[in-house]
């Protein structure tokens, strides 16, 4: 017997494993989290036997001043981190193209390095570099004579916020640069040559040729990083633990705390759903962007 599968059927079969996994590990989990968030769950996740409380957990979340504070920090962190990462990443990517071929190869290898470091290990690294007594950063500032004694990078509120952002920028400028390298490589060389022949100066070339050509890539990379930064957890957990006070607590670290420190699965789930809702907004923009640029076989 010979089987003839039509193309849509084959496509369906090919997509099936991915779909099943994504449903089980993402969509089902959201539904489950949603169910948790409507129950009063203290030190248990058996929601069937626990009281159903409608939206009481959400009310608690929105009433808490610390939710709004962590939301503010999360948004500030995301904004600062992505903008700085874009600036640094773009600089590094442009430099790679600008320098000679030989140096460019070296630069690419160097730029990719911070990207491979796992976030929690990144947090460890910066904990040591920002050490209050023998941290490299404080030491450099002191030897340059800028300050008398090492600043308390992770204890003073304003410093702590920006130390966290700096640590994130250090690691993630790298992936930003890699994305932009891809974008730059895709700009046809003859456009440059044409601009050069016209006698355009380099700044003008950058503004009028490179930037517009690169803009879609920049936008997608920004959205990609933005979504990632909104979910930041590991870095905070390892570097400041949310301190000083609750100044550097992100929404994700709040949710985690409610789950595994306080055992309040209901309230933690409400936090998680709120994070999800915020991200969906950004994700919608991201996906519509991607969709517009589709060039698949129709």
């Amino acid at each position: 017997m010979k089987i003839r599968l039509r193309e849509p059927t084959i496509a369906f079969l090919f997509l099936l494993p991915a779909f099943i996994g994504v449903i089980v590990f993402y969509y089902y989990q959201i539904v489950q989290t949603g169910i948790y968030s409507l129950h009063n769950l203290q030190h248990t996740a058996d929601w069937q036997t626990q009281p159903f409380v409608w939206f009481k957990n959400y009310a608690t979340v929105f009433r808490s001043t610390y939710f709004w504070q962590s939301l503010r920090f999360t948004v500030y962190f995301t904004f600062m981190a992505t903008v700085l990462e874009l600036a640094v990443g773009l600089g590094m990517a442009m430099a790679t193209f600008w320098v000679s071929r030989w140096l460019g190869g070296i630069l690419r290898a160097i730029i990719i390095m911070p990207w491979v470091i796992p976030p929690i290990i990144n947090a460890m690294i910066w904990r040591w570099l920002f050490h209050a007594d023998v941290g490299l950063f404080g030491y450099i500032l002191v030897s340059l004579g800028l300050v008398d004694k090492p600043p308390l990078f992770l204890t003073e509120p304003m410093l702590a916020v920006h130390s966290v952002i700096f640590a994130d920028v250090w690691k993630n400028s790298s992936i930003m640069a890699i994305f932009l390298l891809g974008g730059l490589a895709a700009i046809p060389a003859d456009i440059y040559d044409a601009a050069k022949v016209d006698g355009a100066r380099s700044w003008f070339r950058f503004r009028k040729v490179t930037l517009p050509m690169l803009l879609p890539t920049i936008l997608v990379a920004l959205l990609f990083r933005g979504i990632d930064a909104l979910r930041t957890f590991d870095l905070i957990y390892g570097l400041t633990g949310g301190g000083p006070g609750t100044v550097t607590e992100t929404l994700s670290s709040f949710a985690y705390k409610y789950y595994f420190t306080y055992g309040k699965f209901g309230l933690g789930s409400a936090y998680a759903i709120v994070v999800f809702a915020i991200i969906v907004g950004l994700a919608a923009v991201y996906l519509s962007r991607i969709r517009r640029n589709m060039r698949f076989k129709e």
């Binding site: 209050a132 204890t155 006070g245």
Partner: protein
């Protein structure tokens, strides 16, 4: 069409099976628990006297505790070794295993929460902080030891344990654990030599401390006034409780609402903040854990230090300390109207509700709180222990000549705040107090916020 659909369903199932099967053969190290049958081979047992070797059913009892169970600081075996030996001689068919937890109380606690949420049967006996008892008991995660339902601890064992400590591990009339196997009480260390040199007596009130520190710091350049642990952590909360009660405040009012926004509490927090503002305590205290905070005192660079009693046992050891013979240890001071208080942190052992060998676990627990092991614990780790005979044992007194100092401190012991919401309350307090001492918030605002959040957490 229908034939095609049949195929489709068939292949669907195949793909799912293939995906599952593909995940199968990966090596999966697992903590193996349950009963293991150990057949002792005759040839290898040279020292075994029995001629007939019977296969024995061995039950494994797993104890969860941190790395300190693997260490000794005195003339005795590390605790886990002492326990293994004692259990082996009394119950040869029980095997004791140690599962090492985190030394950081917060990570440690979160680890337990995940185990309990998973209803994990691996761990039988858990080391628990006194302040976790209420939470775990309320959640139904611990096995009550005196409720008339097995396992219940032998009254002969509990009769020898100090009642006040047992009280701290009792929740709603039910004994949830035995303790402490080791405990800490906060007190004030001071430089006896310096105070004598400048004609001061040991301080009685918090104002005394400031006066003394200011005078000596002016005359002895390079000296730090007062060190304590101010990292955003449980240790900071413990220190805060001492100031709170020392200034006449308390945790809750009679209705169970948070009372830490009272004028007394405000005075206490303002005092802490001023210590840093006036330079008596360096700004670094806000980054110090207990181990960091003691460094300056031990190396002779600080006049006062607040910490647990455990430093007593090595402050006179010249290898570890530069202040041999130059120090004193007294209960924390108090302002008029306040209570001299040292926060008591006792580490107890409880039996998990989800344990699969509770009877064996109870036997091990009883051995751990019987005199021989308690004495070993004292010798290896220092006091305080639950067993009352330990304190009069000649070996113990010989090993710890500073033991009598503890009696004074123990009188001021302050029971930790007991609430099923303790982890959240401790976090809130750590955050707010830390915000105040780092200058992020005014003390009044910090306390108002703390109480509002605590009442929200406890449902008042």
């Amino acid at each position: 069409m229908s034939r095609e659909r049949k195929w489709l369903v068939g292949i669907c199932i195949l793909v799912v099976l293939a995906t599952l099967a593909a995940c199968g053969p990966t090596p999966t190290p697992q903590v193996i628990k349950e009963k293991e049958t150990v057949v002792v081979p005759v040839k290898e047992t040279v020292t075994v006297k029995e001629t007939v070797v019977v296969p024995q059913e061995k039950t494994t009892v797993t104890i969860a505790y941190n790395q300190y169970f693997n260490m000794t600081f005195g003339p005795a075996d590390p605790p886990i070794v002492a326990i293994k030996k004692a259990v082996e001689s009394k119950y040869p068919n029980i095997k004791v295993e140690l599962l090492v937890t985190s030394t950081e109380a917060k990570t440690w606690h979160d680890m337990y929460t995940t185990w309990f949420m998973a209803k994990d049967p691996t761990v039988d006996i858990l080391g628990v902080g006194g302040y976790w008892t209420a939470e775990f008991a309320e959640a139904g995660w611990l096995e009550p030891l005196n409720d008339g339902v097995a396992p219940d601890v032998d009254p002969k064992i509990t009769a020898k344990l100090i009642p006040a400590y047992l009280e701290a591990h009792t929740y709603k009339g039910k004994l949830m654990g035995l303790g402490p196997w080791w405990g800490g009480i906060g007190g004030l260390y001071y430089r006896k030599d310096l105070l004598e040199k400048y004609g001061f007596k040991p301080p009685q009130t918090y104002d005394d401390v400031v006066t003394i520190a200011k005078t000596i710091m002016a005359k002895e350049p390079g000296m730090t006034g007062w060190t304590w642990s101010g990292k955003k952590d449980v240790a900071l909360v413990n220190r805060w409780f001492e100031y709170l009660y020392g200034f006449g405040g308390k945790y809750f009012d009679d209705a169970g609402k948070c009372a830490m926004n009272s004028p007394q509490a405000l005075a206490a927090l303002e005092y802490m903040v001023n210590l840093i503002k006036d330079g008596i305590s360096p700004a670094e205290v806000a980054t110090w854990k207990e181990e960091d905070s003691m460094v300056r005192f031990v190396s002779g660079q600080a006049i006062f230090h607040t910490g647990r009693q455990d430093m007593l046992f090595w402050l006179d050891n010249p290898e570890k300390s530069k202040v041999v013979g130059k120090w004193g240890f007294i209960p924390n001071p108090a302002q008029p109207g306040g209570r001299r208080s040292g926060t008591y942190e006792g580490w107890a052992f409880a039996i998990s509700k989800f344990s699969d060998s509770k009877d064996a676990a109870l036997k091990v627990l009883e051995v751990m709180f019987d005199f021989p092991v308690q004495k070993e614990l004292n010798l290896s780790q220092g006091p305080v222990q639950a067993h009352m005979d330990v304190y009069t044992d000649p070996d113990v007194i010989k090993n710890n000549p500073n033991m009598p100092l503890i009696e004074e401190i123990a009188k001021t012991a302050l029971a930790p705040l007991s609430s099923p919401q303790y982890p959240e309350i401790a976090d809130i307090l750590a955050e707010e107090i830390h915000a105040a001492i780092t200058g992020l918030k005014a003390p009044k605002a910090a306390l108002t916020d703390a109480c509002a959040r605590i009442d929200l957490a406890t449902g008042h």
